[in-house]
C-alpha cells in the first residue's frame, strides 16, 4: 500500500495531478447543477412577474 | 413656499458627495461581472508576452523581470485610465458634477481613488505572481507588492490629469499616453529600481520613499489640475 502511495518516488507529482483533475470533474458536476437550479429559479421568478402583469 | 430661498437643510456635504462618486464608480465596475479581473488579465498577458518575445530562459528573464513588470503595470493602469473620465464626459455626468455646487476637486479625487482601487490595488496583489513566473525569488514579494501599490497611486493621479486634459479630444488614447508617460517616467524608474533591488535581495527603502513622495505630491496637486482641466473641457 505504502509502495502504491509512494508511486515510485513520483508521489508529489502524480497525486496532485489526479487530485486536480478529479476535482475539476467533481466541480463540473456541482457547477452544472447549481447553474441549472439558478436558471430554474430565475424562470420561476419571471413567470411570477408575468403573472402579476396580466 | 420659501424652501427655494434658503440653502436646503438636507444639502449633501463634500464628503458625502465624494463617497457617492466613489461608490458609483465601484458599482459600475462591479456591475459587469469579470470587470475586476480584466486589468489583472491584461497584466498577466503582457508579462507572458515578454518571455515569448525575448527568451524562455529564466536566468535571462530574471534580469528584465522588474522592467517588464513595471512597464506592464504602467500600461495596464493607462489603459484603464481612458475610461476614467471619457464615459462621464460623453453622457453629461461631468457637466452635472461641475454644476453640482460641490468643489469639483473633491469629486475628481474620489474618481481617481476609484480608479486606483479598481486597477492599482489588484495589480499590486497580482504582481508577485507575475514576478515569480519571471524568475524572481519569493523573498522579493513584499518589496514588489509595496512598490507597485505605492507606485500605482502616483500613476493613477498623474493619469487623471492626462485623462482630464484630453477630454475634449476624440481619439485621445494615444495623446493621453503621450502626455502621461513622460510624467510617469519617474514613477517607472523608481518603481523598477525598488523592484530590482527587492529581486536581488538588497534594501529597497530609498526608492520606495521617493515613490511615496511622488504619490503625496500627486495627491495634493493632481485633483486640482484635473478639476481645472474638466471645467475647461466643458466650455
Amino acid at each position: 500500500m505504502r509502495e502504491f502511495l509512494d508511486m515510485g518516488g513520483y508521489a508529489a507529482f502524480v497525486w496532485p495531478s489526479y487530485a486536480v483533475t478529479l476535482a475539476v470533474v467533481v466541480l463540473n458536476i456541482v457547477w452544472a447543477r447549481s447553474s441549472l437550479a439558478r436558471s430554474r429559479a430565475a424562470a420561476r421568478r419571471r413567470l411570477a412577474a408575468a403573472g402579476a402583469d396580466a | 413656499m420659501s424652501d427655494t430661498r434658503t440653502a436646503a437643510p438636507d444639502a449633501a456635504s463634500v464628503l458625502e458627495a465624494a463617497r457617492l462618486v466613489l461608490e458609483r464608480d465601484l458599482t459600475l465596475a462591479l456591475r459587469r461581472r469579470g470587470q475586476l479581473v480584466q486589468p489583472l488579465a491584461f497584466f498577466v498577458i503582457v508579462t507572458t508576452l515578454f518571455p515569448l518575445a525575448i527568451s524562455p530562459e529564466l536566468a535571462r528573464l530574471r534580469e528584465v523581470a522588474a522592467g517588464v513588470l513595471w512597464v506592464a503595470a504602467l500600461l495596464a493602469s493607462l489603459l484603464a485610465l481612458e475610461f476614467l473620465f471619457r464615459d462621464d464626459a460623453y453622457d453629461g455626468t461631468l457637466e452635472q458634477y461641475a454644476l453640482s455646487g460641490q468643489p469639483l476637486t473633491g469629486l475628481m479625487f474620489a474618481k481617481t481613488a476609484a480608479h486606483w482601487l479598481l486597477t492599482g490595488l489588484p495589480l499590486a496583489l497580482m504582481a508577485p505572481l507575475a514576478a515569480l513566473s519571471l524568475g524572481a525569488p519569493p523573498d522579493a514579494v513584499p518589496g514588489i507588492v509595496a512598490s507597485v501599490a505605492v507606485g500605482t497611486i502616483a500613476l493613477s493621479l498623474i493619469g487623471s490629469i492626462g485623462a482630464a486634459l484630453t477630454l475634449g479630444l476624440r481619439r485621445s488614447g494615444v495623446l493621453l499616453a503621450l502626455l502621461t508617460l513622460p510624467l510617469s517616467l519617474p514613477v517607472l524608474i523608481f518603481g523598477a529600481r525598488a523592484s530590482e533591488l527587492a529581486i536581488h535581495g538588497e534594501p529597497y527603502v530609498a526608492p520606495l520613499e521617493l515613490l511615496a513622495a511622488l504619490a503625496v505630491l500627486g495627491i495634493t496637486l493632481a485633483p486640482l489640475a484635473s478639476a481645472a482641466a474638466v471645467r475647461i473641457s466643458l466650455e
Binding site: - | 430661498r5 458627495a17 462618486v21 457637466e95 452635472q96 453640482s100
Partner: protein, 209 residues
C-alpha cells in the same frame, strides 16, 4: 436692496468665430418663467449654458439676487439645475441608481422620496432596468424625476418636452407650475409652446444677427 432672482445684462457671447449673443438682457424675478425661442442656431442653448456659468461671456453681467455669479460660481451652482439636450444617464445603471448618484451629490435623499419621484414620472415599471435599455422618452422622464427631486430655485431647461408623449409634456407643465408657485424661476428654451397658461410666461425671442 438688490433685486431677487436672475438678471442678465447686455450679454455678448462668441462661439468660435461666431458672435452668437449680441447684447441679450432680461430680468427674471422669483416665480417668473422665461421662454426662450428663436430659429435653429439662434443661440438658445448657448444662452442657457452661459446663464449657468458653463460658458464665459465676452462681456455683460449675470446677477443672482444682485450679486455677480462669477464671483462665486459654486454657490450659484448650488441654487440651479440645468438639463441639456441629453439626460446625463449612465448606461449601466438603472434609472433609480442614476438618480441616486446624480442627485445624491447635491442633497441627501431617502429611498421613499426617490420612489415617489420615479412614480410621478411613470417610471415605476422600468426604474430597475439599465438606462441603456430605455427609450428616448423614458430617458427624458428620468431627467424630469431629477428635476422634481432638487428643490433648487433656478431651473434651466433646454427643450424639456423633446421626445415626450402628450402626457409627458403635460407633466413638464405641471412641474414648472408647481415650481413657479413655490417661488422658483424657470428659464426654458423650446420650439413648441410651453404647456403652461400663456399669462405665466415671459418670452424672449432670439434672432440671427
Amino acid at each position: 436692496m438688490p433685486r431677487e432672482g436672475l438678471e442678465v445684462e447686455n450679454l455678448h457671447l462668441w462661439r468660435g468665430e461666431h458672435h452668437v449673443l449680441r447684447g441679450v438682457g432680461f430680468a427674471l424675478p422669483r416665480g417668473g418663467c422665461l421662454h426662450v425661442t428663436g430659429p435653429n442656431g439662434a443661440g438658445k442653448t448657448s444662452l442657457l449654458r452661459a446663464a449657468c456659468g458653463l460658458l464665459y461671456p465676452e462681456s455683460g453681467r449675470l446677477l443672482w439676487d444682485g450679486r455677480d455669479v462669477h464671483e462665486d460660481l459654486p454657490t450659484f451652482h448650488s441654487v440651479l439645475m440645468y438639463i441639456g439636450h441629453e439626460a446625463p444617464l449612465k448606461a449601466d445603471l438603472s434609472a433609480r441608481e442614476n438618480l441616486r448618484y446624480w442627485i445624491g451629490t447635491r442633497r441627501r435623499i431617502g429611498r421613499d422620496t426617490l420612489g415617489a419621484a420615479l412614480q410621478r414620472v411613470g417610471a415605476t415599471a422600468w426604474s430597475e432596468r439599465p438606462a441603456r435599455t430605455l427609450s428616448a422618452g423614458q430617458r427624458r422622464r428620468v431627467a424630469l424625476a431629477a428635476l422634481s427631486l432638487l428643490l433648487v430655485p433656478l431651473w434651466l431647461l433646454d427643450e424639456p418636452t423633446t421626445n415626450l408623449d402628450a402626457e409627458g409634456q403635460q407633466l413638464v407643465g405641471t412641474l414648472i407650475e408647481e415650481h413657479l408657485a413655490r417661488g422658483g424661476l424657470v428659464l426654458a428654451a423650446t420650439h413648441h409652446e410651453l404647456p403652461l397658461p400663456r399669462s405665466r410666461v415671459q418670452r424672449l425671442e432670439l434672432t440671427h444677427e
